[in-house]
Amino acid sequence: MKWFDYAAPASVGEAVGLLTAHPNARLLAGGTDLLVQLRSGRKETDLVVDIKRIPELNALQYDAKAGLTLGAAVPCYRIYGDATVARHYPALAEVAALIGGTQIQGRASIGGNLCNAAPSADSVPLLIALGATCRIAGTKGTREIPVEDFCTAPGRNVLQPGELLVSLQIPAPKPNSGARYLRFIPRNEMDIAVAGAGVEVVLENGTFRSARIALASVAPTPLFVREANQALTGKPVNDSTIAAAADAARSAAKPITDMRGTADYRRHLCAVLTRRALETAIQRARESR
């Protein structure tokens, strides 16, 4: 690696200042993506800005109205180790436990997973399904955008010079809702998703009140299948509507063929994973309050 300097700001303001002064700076949370990319030459920098000392980025707080505030630097192990998260957002705890393996989860953050903006990011489909929003800080103050708008291209996101992701806000779980993220990998751990489906359903008297579905690894960015919500809202919950949703997911997918899978295989997996994820989410919705 080429030489870089290191700074560890203690506040959001300080971080914004450093990013503005060094347009080539890179943010460091868990380092499980950044260090690999710096070593391989995929990314370059003259300043690494370590954001793990900033209090807002380490927040993990639940409020019955506002939902979950998840600081961008909170590592996965804190997420699945938190009793409140496990209770109110079991699907999120599951996702935190499947990124990499134990050691990776000791460092990697969901905020970093999102900012890295890989099409295969395991946390993003679920965040989209849960209707999460991103809180971004910059020179002009803070702004909020829906998670589905955050990634713009493979490895690229909406952050402008001087901006950083501070936290994610995940809405409080609605009554009779359930969520699930399922991915396909060739081994049982450690792999990048060949395809993934994150879903959240809200049920009402045996019909779908809403259904949000998003996919990993089948488009240049995590893919929000918007049409699925319209297609399912008001429809009865049965095998036929679930199958239709799976088909919608398959049709929406725009996968490529690469070393992790062929386009055909990925399209096929979208349908399978969407169907299986919906089945679990529906089960959870039925079992919830």
Binding site: V36, Q103, R107
Partner: protein, 161 residues
């Protein structure tokens, strides 16, 4: 030449100070700067676990931690697992169960398994396999490693009883 950074940290219970470049990983600092070569490099990108250390009570792959990030932290390496002259139950059970062949992955496995047993004294086979999925072994097929972890757990339970 740009200046190195001075890092103050605690390694295996000892206060330690070293100089490093920001681009040097914690793994490099342990091995090349501090001479603690028990922690190994297998891939340098977090996929094999041979560089596993405990960083503030979490197991991490030290190849993906910068040396400068060790400032103020508590680090445990394989060199800190034995208590003086006495092997840890895990080290004993690895030997008794022939849970190593070439031994290069062994330090990483022992540190990772110790972290598991520290918070889960009676793990099932599935729990052990899941916890250790970030540690690759190419020699053993994992069978004897799993048995060694189970036996170490039994030793520790006996010792507490």
């Amino acid at each position: 030449m740009p200046a190195k950074v001075r890092v103050q940290t605690t390694i295996n219970g000892e206060q330690t100070e070293f100089l490093c470049e920001p681009r040097q990983s914690l793994l490099e600092c342990l091995r090349d700067v501090l001479g603690l070569t028990g922690t190994k490099e297998g891939c340098n990108d977090g996929n094999c676990g041979a560089c596993t250390v405990m960083l503030d009570d979490r197991v991490v792959t030290s190849c993906l931690v910068l040396g400068v990030e060790a400032e103020g932290a508590q680090i445990t390496t394989i060199e800190g697992i034995a208590k003086g002259n006495e092997l840890d139950p895990l080290q004993r059970s690895f030997l008794e169960n022939a849970a190593l062949q070439c031994g290069i992955c062994t330090p990483g496995f022992i540190v990772a398994a110790k972290a598991l047993l520290d918070h889960e004294p009676n793990p099932t086979e599935d729990q052990i396999r899941l916890w250790l999925a970030n540690n690759l072994c190419r020699c053993t097929g994992y069978d004897k490693i799993i048995h060694a972890v189970q036996q170490a757990a039994a030793y520790s339970r006996e010792a507490r009883a």
